[in-house]
Amino acid sequence: MISLNLVLFISSLMFFIGVAGVLIRRNLLIILMSIELMLNAANLNLIAFARQSGTVDGQAFALLVMGFAAAEVAVGLALAVALYRRKDTVQADDINLLNG
């Protein structure tokens, strides 16, 4: 059986790659993917801990998180399309009308 520390290490690695992606990359779609990575890191944790404790609560929670991630992407992509129609860009740096 894979040790829990290894799972924790991998999930935290995924999480920080996600955070770094959100902070560094400027493309809206890539930011969206990085956010998905953060959610999946949490999912990995939930499933591993549920397996360890022998209950299914964590696994059910992970399923719900996946459902939520899908809903979030739907809204996010819709907003990205609306932005692209107005401004012909999906770069976060071009969202600058409201700065100040």
Binding site: V22, T55, G58
Partner: protein, 494 residues
């Protein structure tokens, strides 16, 4: 013995169903409104949905009041007087938003059923969030609340500012919820995968603190960051001014009251119940955030030219005061002592009326084709004395000037914090609220002591008139009704 699956399902469907009657009623009706409801209304008659939504919200108010008091769904959800009180604030705020939006949507010719259904969906999320007593239900009701608001912010999709605000809000909101869910997963792991229930966590985390201290600390701090993003406290406030500025004005009014009330109540419950026994982990962070919000919110509001941005910064400051109430939930008393939350409720109740009154007036002026800059309020007293007087009441109440309700709620909150020993924070709060009087009085100065050049008098329409008058009445009578209010607040107990 664990109940069998069939047994649990039976309990959930039959015994516990009344607990969620109001949110489920909203979800059901909103879905029916989208289909087949929208097919029945011809394209040029969509404004009828406004009245229909108001009726639905009236029924929701009734359903919220008659909900039985107990916990259900395997202790994941719980209704008590406190919860109901916050649910009522959320419902009333949504109702006021619907009333306020009608004129603007008429003007933009943008009446669609989606606007109203999104409002109903987000309200159902708030009602669930108020009752959540488990990290799972907490997380999902926060998302149910937030997702429709992202869309509502970008509702006018041919206005660049609105879409930009929507995208910005979405990115930061999704990012913060990613941080929060990772924190929740760490906490779940720290307890050995046994519980996510608030009451369960309050004991399990103390035990876990010895064995897996780092995990608990990281988890609690991540949940703190996620919640702080949702309620917009410094240093997680960057999105607030931009989003408040870019969103349609009624939605700005809505965001400043209803989701904030629900999120801050959830905040108080998570930290007052689940993390209540490990105060060393989070108290310092929260004290820092409260102080920073009060200072930065009020100082940044000083130099704003736009009314909406000014109110956005002032809302950051007000959330700072509300954090004071969360902190003064005495950790030494039993878990059930929620007197800090009572003063929190009173504060949000007062804030609801001042805030909606002010935004109703801004929406009305925007509807007349005028801007939202503070300069645009110049000479308002000559053009419509009642409107200017009402605006003055709201602004003075926001500043916390005595005979108004804003003073009353602030006074009780500060007194509570002082009794709990937060002397430095209370001093900062009093000083910064003196600073806030400066920029509120600046607007009053523009309205009363500058003359408007070449603008005609304004005539109020009926809806705005009613909304502004109700808010003004509440703000004025707040203190004369204080005895009555305190009685109500006294009844609000867990």
């Amino acid at each position: 013995m664990m109940p069998s699956f069939v047994q649990s399902l039976w309990t959930a469907l039959w015994q516990d169903a009344p607990l969620v009657q109001a949110p489920f009623f909203l979800i059901g009706i909103a879905s029916l409104m989208l289909w087949p409801g929208d097919l029945l209304i011809p394209r040029d008659q969509k404004r009828r949905w406004s009245l229909f939504t108001q009726i639905i919200l009236g029924i929701t108010l009734y359903l919220v009041v008659v909900t039985p008091h107990r916990s259900g769904f395997s202790n994941m959800f719980r209704i008590d007087t406190m919860t109901q009180a916050f649910q009522l604030i959320c419902t009333v705020a949504t109702l006021a938003t619907v009333v306020l939006s009608k004129k603007l949507l008429d003007l933009m010719n943008e009446h669609t059923v989606e606007f109203y259904t999104l409002l109903l969906f987000t309200l159902s999320g708030m009602l669930l969030l108020c009752g959540a007593t488990d990290l799972v239900t907490l997380y999902f009701s926060i998302e149910l609340m937030a997702l429709p608001i992202y869309v509502l912010v970008g509702y006018f999709r041919d206005q660049e500012r609105g879409i930009e605000a929507g995208v910005k809000y979405f990115l930061l909101g999704a990012f913060s919820s990613g941080i929060m869910i990772y924190g929740i997963s760490l906490l779940y792991g720290a307890t050995g995968g046994t519980t996510t229930n608030f009451e369960g966590l309050s004991t399990a985390l103390v035990a876990a603190m010895d064995a897996r201290g780092t995990m608990v600390t990281l988890g609690v701090l991540m949940v703190l960051v996620g919640m702080a993003f949702k309620v917009a406290v410094v240093p997680f406030h960057m999105w607030t001014p931009d989003v408040y500025d870019g969103a349609p004005t009624p939605i700005t009014a809505f965001m400043a009251s209803a989701p904030k009330a629900a999120a801050i109540f959830a905040f108080a419950k998570v930290f007052g119940v689940a993390f209540h026994n490990i105060p060393n982990v989070w108290t310092f962070g929260m004290e820092y955030m409260a102080a920073a919000s009060m200072i930065l919110g009020n100082v940044a509001a000083l130099r704003q030219q736009s009314m909406k941005r000014m109110l956005a910064y002032s809302s950051i400051a007000h959330v700072g005061y509300m954090m004071l109430a969360i902190l003064s939930n005495d950790p030494n008393l039993s878990i059930r002592s929620f007197s800090g939350v009572q003063s929190l409720w009173l504060y949000i109740f007062a804030y609801l009326f001042m805030n909606f009154g002010a935004f109703a007036i801004i929406t009305f002026l925007q509807g007349k084709g005028e801007g939202e800059r503070i300069d645009d309020f110049r000479g308002l007293s000559q053009r419509n004395p009642w409107l200017a007087f009402a605006m003055m009441l709201f602004l003075l109440s926001l500043a916390g000037i005595p005979p108004l309700i804003g003073f009353f709620s602030k006074f009780i909150l500060f007194k509570m914090a002082l009794e709990r020993g937060f002397v430095v924070l209370t001093v900062i709060a009093v000083l910064t609220s003196a600073v806030s009087a400066y920029y509120y009085l600046g607007v009053i100065n523009q309205m009363y002591f500058r003359s408007s050049t070449g603008k005609d008098s304004l005539k109020m329409d009926r809806m705005t008139g009613v909304l502004v008058s109700v808010c003004a009445l509440m703000v004025l009578l707040g203190v004369s009704a204080s005895g009555w209010l305190i009685d109500i607040v006294d009844k609000i107990k867990l």
